[in-house]
């Protein structure tokens, strides 16, 4: 089993006493996060208390100093590739190649998840309001549009677990509405979201996780 206390299977993500130290300075400790299907966790805390670091820990970009991370009750070491296959991470950087067109970028992001269907790629871009500019190289698009190209992955992805770090920055009200709708849809279809955002979102089942209590 993952930890001493038995964890029911339906916990998509659970951490046990996660703690992280960088160059002798302990950022946070004793993080016990539980995430079930259909739930969204909003990580809160002042700037610099390690919200993004926690997000990078959960997405295995960083390895914790101590503590364990479990996916569906199994320790990460055993189910690493299943976990990564079921995970979508959109960080501060949009991972969009400015030399390529919006369609080429999204087609590559979809291919990274095993989806090879040009029609659904174009449909996703259209649903994100990029129907007219899908073949323009991204360096001709505005920051908001580039962010929408990155976020149009949310339309295509099959991943259950979403990790979104400030997804709504550089988006206009229409964009925010689109994304909020998409998040709600994902929750309804049994997905789970870990979110960092300073804009409040009109979404139902939101659990706030205050990191300041855990900061060392």
């Amino acid at each position: 089993m993952c930890m001493d206390v038995p964890v029911p299977q339906d916990y998509l993500l659970s951490t046990n006493e996660l703690c992280f130290e960088r160059d002798g300075r302990r950022l946070f400790e004793g993080i016990n996060l539980r995430l079930k299907a259909g739930e969204m966790v909003l990580i809160e805390g002042p700037n610099g208390c390690g919200k993004t670091t926690l997000m990078r820990l959960l997405t295995t970009l960083l390895s914790p100093t101590s503590g364990a991370l479990c996916y569906r009750g199994e320790p990460l070491e055993k189910v690493r590739y299943e976990y990564l296959a079921d995970l979508l991470y959109i960080g501060h950087q949009s991972a969009v190649k400015l030399a390529l067109s919006a369609e080429e970028n999204l087609a590559w992001m979809a291919a990274s998840e095993g989806i090879h269907d040009p029609k659904s790629v174009r449909a996703a871009l259209r649903s994100m309001g990029l129907g007219a500019v899908y073949d323009l190289p991204c360096h001709q698009l505005s920051a908001g549009q580039v962010r929408r190209v990155a976020l149009s992955r949310l339309v295509l992805t099959r991943a259950k677990l979403w990790f979104l770090d400030e997804p709504l920055t550089a988006l206009d009200t229409e964009g925010i509405g689109l994304i909020t709708g998409r998040l709600q849809g994902h929750l309804d279809s049994g997905g789970a979201i870990v979110l960092i955002s300073h804009q409040d979102l009109a979404i139902g089942a939101v659990r706030n996780y205050d990191l300041t209590k855990r900061c060392a």
């Binding site: 990078r56 970009l61 296959a85 960080g91 991972a95 291919a111 998840e113």
Partner: protein, 224 residues
Amino acid sequence: MARTPSFLAYVRRDVLLAYRRLGDTVAPLIFFTMVCTLVPLGLSPDPQRLSEIAPGIMWIMALLATLLSIERIFAFDFEDGSLEQLLIAPQLIALPVLAKIVAHWLVTGLPLTLLSPLLAMTLSLPTSAYPAMLLSLAIGSAYLSAVGAVGASLTVSLGRGGLLLPLLVVPLYMPIMIFGTATVFYAVDGLHWSGPLAAMGAMLCAALALCPLAAAAALRVTSA
């Protein structure tokens, strides 16, 4: 379950990206041509003296030209965040890294090799040595890309244009250059040049096996 893109898809994408940024890609080739023309100006245009040093000159200049472009293997991906996406893809990271090395060779090493006969002429290298030179540069530049990728992955988070990368990588380039130039020198002297070439082939195989692993480990460390 084809969760991740195939090896060829990675290579095709990187080559396409390099093609879209043609200025960056052609720069090492132009640099290679320019510095090769420095030699006759700097030393002497006398064909006899030039042909004596032509193999060494061409190899050293090919090495420096590759050094210019090594940083680019991971730098762009690190800056726009796609390196992060690569690190959390559900696959062995060494595979896409190998794909990046192959793409870099296709974009820099191979064109350098194809360009070299042109310059061999200006440096009055005997034509009998052309095949040896082409083969030695082809294999050698692949080794340079592979080992360079390890250096690039170690310094990816230190920002572009750092002088640290050449410092780490040039000592590791010396053995392949020794065998590379020897192959061409043997050919110029009319000896059998398959010996040093075989040594280069062996070193390339080792590099292609080990460098992606080392580079993947380094990426996981430095981009954290």
